[in-house]
């Protein structure tokens, strides 16, 4: 049963489906950014090996906004860490930008936003955003210009000289997004970036993020355990299930890109949210 479902999910994912022929053609035109085939990861722990990922098949194409959703322990963060080459898969193949994940990391082809802002407290906001740029050897004038541009983009113009402790949690997380986008990677990996924030701030940042995605055409992989957040942001939603971590279903969203918070009350939105919820529930029935 498990394998049958996983295989089914794989088919769906592999095709990068749209219901219509047009959608499929459009999808096929866009180059794959992430291609995972039968990806598994087993952690060796002192008492027993833990299967964090099992038989993951997933294709993510350029310009997608893909959410990984599932209960805690379903391997969504692990999957993202594998894509980022922060963890090594035990078996299966993974291509990022057509090469290995390690190569993609060495090429600095993605920006990673962690669950916590992870700002360096001794650096001003501006210097925090400039950190990756310094490491990449960008000239000083250009660094300053970039930092200013991306601070503006996340709505924090004028905060250059402040220090992290002087900002609220939501503002800090926006800084960390600016930091990840500042070196203009084509792929943004976001690991529950708004998980620790209150709902009002979270809504606000969701809208922000959606506008950024629209504006920049960047590919985003987004880990969350909030159904409304996943549906609101994503062009595709990958529903995952724990023990072992696997993909249950990939749901494509045909909501228009220019959504706002009110879109969350439309029948189309609720319909997709319902499908996600049903898929998540199916995952739980295995336990």
């Amino acid at each position: 049963m498990v394998s049958a479902r996983a295989a089914h999910a794989g088919d769906v994912a592999g095709d990068a489906v749209g219901d219509s022929v047009v959608a499929r053609e459009v999808a096929a035109e866009r180059a794959p950014v992430v291609e995972a085939r039968d990806l598994s990861l087993v952690f060796q722990t002192p008492d027993a090996p833990v299967t964090a990922l099992s038989g993951i098949d997933l294709t993510i194409r350029r310009g997608d906004f893909v959410s990984l959703i599932g209960p805690s322990g379903c391997g969504k963060t692990t999957l993202m860490r594998v894509v980022a080459d922060l963890a090594k898969p035990t078996s299966g193949t993974l291509l990022v930008n057509g090469g290995t994940a390690e190569q993609a990391r060495l090429d600095r082809s993605y920006g990673y936003v962690f669950q916590a802002p992870a700002l360096y407290p001794w650096r001003s906001i501006e210097r925090n955003i400039m950190l990756p740029l310094e490491i990449m050897g960008m000239p000083r004038a250009e660094r300053k210009e970039r930092a200013a541009r991306y601070l503006d983009l996340v709505g924090l113009k004028g905060f250059e000289r402040k220090f992290p402790w002087q900002l609220s949690g939501g503002m800090q997380q926006r800084v960390s997004i600016a930091r990840a986008m500042g070196f203009e990677p084509a792929l943004l990996l976001m690991d529950e970036p708004f998980g620790a924030l209150d709902e009002i701030t979270r809504d606000n940042l969701n809208v922000h993020l959606l506008r950024l995605w629209e504006k920049t055409g960047i590919t985003v992989i987004f880990v969350t355990h909030s159904i409304p957040e996943a549906v609101f942001l994503s062009s595709r939603i990958v529903v995952m299930s724990p023990r072992p971590g696997r993909i249950l279903e990939v749901i494509d969203s045909d909501l228009p890109r220019d959504r706002d918070l009110d879109s969350r009350e439309t029948p189309e939105f609720l319909e997709i949210a319902h499908r996600v919820r049903v898929a998540l529930r199916a995952g739980h029935s295995y336990d």
């Binding site: 980022a84 080459d85 922060l86 990391r105 060495l106 090429d107 600095r108 993605y110 920006g111 990673y112 962690f114 916590a116 992870a118 360096y120 407290p121 001794w122 650096r123 001003s124 950190l131 990756p132 310094e134 490491i135 990449m136 000289r161 402040k162 220090f163 402790w165 002087q166």
Partner: protein
Amino acid sequence: MTDAAIPASWKLGAREGVAVPILTVLAVVVVIWYAAAVWLNAPQVAERLDRAGPDWTAGDLVSGAWAMERPVLPAPHQIAVELYDSVIGRPVSSKRSLVYHAGVTLSATVAGFALGLAMGVALAIGIVHVRVLDRSLMPWIIASQTIPILAIAPMIVVVLGNLGFTGLLPKAIISGYLSFFPIAIGMVKGLRSPDPLQLDLMRTYSATKAQTFAKLRWPSSVTFLFPSLKIAIALALVGAIVAELPTGAQAGLGARLLAGSYYGQTIQIWAALFMSAFLAMLAVGAVGLAERGLTRYRGGRL
């Protein structure tokens, strides 16, 4: 940064609550001290008064106990007078000026501290980056501090003397021997303090080891470094003074202490002790000042 953002207690001068407790403690100590001086010096004073005749009062005993030339415990004002005479009353270049001796000890302290800092930091960097060093060096570093400095100081002096090194260097080495330890321990802790998230971040930038060190590990360690530095510089001073004892040095607070004890000049000993306490405060204060400056540069938090 607006002033409102800084808690009042951080500001310089917001110390109105500190003076009264400090002065109270000082007053209590002084009172106890005078009493102890009477108690400890009384037998000798009484003997002397007896020799002059049987007609002496308690007042004579007390004033005598506070004015002895070589008391068991000098009264505070005697020490104050000696300090004044040997600090202000003599030219700094004089061999009897306490400022001159303090200067000699301070130069050994600073040299030893610099040596300890370099060694402590180098050891910490090695231990954090090389697994073999972590396993092999740590036990030796800890063992080094279990040897009493008083036992090893003469050996160092003798060995270095045979090699032709005298003067500042042996003192600086003994001083550095004491001060490298807290720095090494603090730095190891500090260099390992970045959390996994901060380290992962560096990995996503495919930062080199050197970059991770310069931009993450080193700045993280500063928080741990300064408390260590304060302990280290105080220990460096102790080391410098101890080093002056077996070297037969003619100058320095240690030499002053030793000379004082040879000739039973307790007042001189106490004056030198107070001078060394003052030096320690000065040295620790200087480190604190550096810490404050760096804190300001880093946005108000270390």
